[in-house]
């Protein structure tokens, strides 16, 4: 036996050591028990079952788990495209809004989605962040359709599904500038951000830095509208959301802008006495016929409403300014949805929706054939 072993043996048998060792072992055991209990609780919370139960039972779908855990299931339409299926998507958003207003946790059933577009993605992302920032649980499953699933994954939707969000003035989801979908949210007018977004879009389309004054105008008009008119009697109250999709293959960039304000027509109905548009219905009643809100949207976009109400020349402020940008070929494929009105501005198609959308949604494309400045 070495001399050191002799001393160590003596040390292990020492009363002080044994007492100290027992105390530490007891503490460690207590810590282990606490950790085990925590792990058991965490597993139970995550799946609604303990680990043993999980091992001994067949796999349960996330959807079934959601029902067990008291989520409200909201089924997304098969065609989750705000442009091609506005009625069903407006209804889907309405259900989400109802749940949000009631602080009800939501599980969005996306597995049957066969088609999805960038417009619907910005809506989904913004809804998710709203739920999470207000501490309302929000969950969902993947579309089974490969293309839809890929698009949603590119958007950062699933990456952010388990993240914490707090109520903030601005958000940025997925920062990768030239790949897939990038989403921004703010309350203010941010002309520097819009200019950066346009520079990135130009790189995708023309592979060089250009300026697109039309797109910049469209973005500023929309941000300004959200800031000024999304809430009645308040400014800077609501977020605007912008998703930008870079399609490198087809050299085009898609812009989807949404706010969940009161919408164009609600705002128009609530104009105060000092506004130029106060009592507008009376002012146009013998001069313009519009039928429903879709007809009124046409009058707004072509400037007739402004000209008739104010009796002034009209130079395209706000949404008509965005329509003007399209007329100058600075953007293409402009679509606007607000309340129960739908406009495919390029196709001159104005439709009344059966379900009203609380807010304003604007979509357009920028491509090689659109105007730009080198």
């Amino acid at each position: 036996m070495f001399k050191s072993d002799f001393y160590m043996k003596k040390y292990y048998l020492d009363c002080g050591y044994i007492k100290n060792h027992k105390r530490r072992a007891k503490k460690k055991h207590a810590r282990n028990l606490i950790h085990k209990a925590w792990k058991r609780r965490a597993n139970a919370l995550l799946s609604g079952k303990s680990r043993d139960q999980q091992h001994n039972s067949p796999r349960v779908s996330k959807k079934a788990e959601a029902i067990l855990r008291g989520y409200k299931l909201i089924q997304a339409p098969d065609n989750l495209s705000f442009i091609n299926n506005p009625n069903e998507v407006a209804d889907f958003i309405w259900q989400l809004k109802q749940a949000f207003d009631q602080h009800q946790k939501v599980f969005v059933v996306l597995d049957a989605v066969m088609q999805i577009d960038y417009g619907a993605i910005v809506v989904l992302l913004s809804v998710m962040v709203r739920f999470k920032s207000f501490g309302i649980e929000f969950n969902g499953n993947f579309p089974k359709n490969y293309v839809s699933r890929k698009l949603l994954m590119q958007s950062g939707f699933f990456d952010n599904l388990y993240k914490e969000f707090s109520v903030e003035d601005s958000y940025q989801i997925k920062e990768d500038k030239y790949e897939g979908i990038c989403t921004h949210a703010q309350k203010k007018v941010d002309s520097v951000l819009s200019s950066q977004i346009i520079s990135e879009a130009c790189q995708t389309i023309w592979h060089e830095n250009r300026r697109c004054q039309g797109v910049q105008r469209a973005l500023i008009e929309l941000m300004q509208n959200t800031n000024n008119h999304a809430s009645i009697g308040k400014t800077g109250d609501k977020h605007w959301w912008l998703s930008v999709y870079h399609d490198k293959k087809n050299k085009s960039v898609t812009f989807s802008f949404v706010d969940f304000g009161v919408g164009i027509f609600e705002n128009l109905s609530n104009k105060q006495e000092r506004s130029k548009f106060y009592n507008w219905k009376e002012k146009i009643k013998d001069k313009l016929f519009y039928g429903d809100n879709s007809g009124l949207l046409r009058l707004i976009l072509d400037g007739s409403l402004h000209r008739t109400v104010t009796e002034n020349d009209f130079r395209g402020k706000g949404l008509p300014g965005v329509a003007g940008v399209m007329k100058r070929n600075q953007i293409s494929d402009l679509h606007i949805i607000s309340n129960d009105a739908y406009a495919d501005v390029g196709g001159d198609r104005y439709i009344k929706l059966t379900k009203s959308f609380n807010g304003t949604f604007v979509y357009w494309k920028l491509g090689e054939t659109n105007e730009s400045t080198k």
Binding site: C212, Q216, G236
Partner: protein
């Protein structure tokens, strides 16, 4: 009235390459700040020295209508410059977006009409 000499204000160089909102509270690089800090002092100087102020709008990322309305219409509405003074002492250049010149003219006329009421 014949003006003596020319002064130049290049918005991109003298203010911002990314003009933004109408008011300062709504966002950076606003029309309100541009009017107060750049445009109004220059136009006042142009009027007092009987000069022509040439405002060059080219080279920026683009303009929102509210920015332009606040910057130019605001001269009449807030700074009490008359339409006639602006007609004699202000000239706008915009080669990249020629329609902006007409837009600004209409904002000035609107503001003059409202001021006259």
């Amino acid at each position: 009235m014949k003006v003596q000499n020319k002064m130049k204000l290049v918005l991109r160089d003298d203010y911002s390459a990314t003009p933004g909102a109408r008011y300062e509270v709504e966002g950076d690089d606003s029309g309100e700040v541009f009017r107060i800090k750049c445009l109004y002092p220059k136009i006042r100087e142009a009027i007092s020295s009987n000069s022509l102020l040439v405002v060059d709008l080219d080279g920026t990322a683009g303009y929102g209508t509210s920015f332009l309305e606040e910057a130019f219409g605001g001269l009449i509405r807030n700074d009490r410059v008359t339409y006639e003074q602006l007609k004699n002492h202000l000239s706008i250049i915009s080669e990249e977006e020629d329609y902006l010149v007409d837009d600004i003219e209409s904002y000035l006329l609107d503001a003059a009409k409202s001021a006259a009421k």
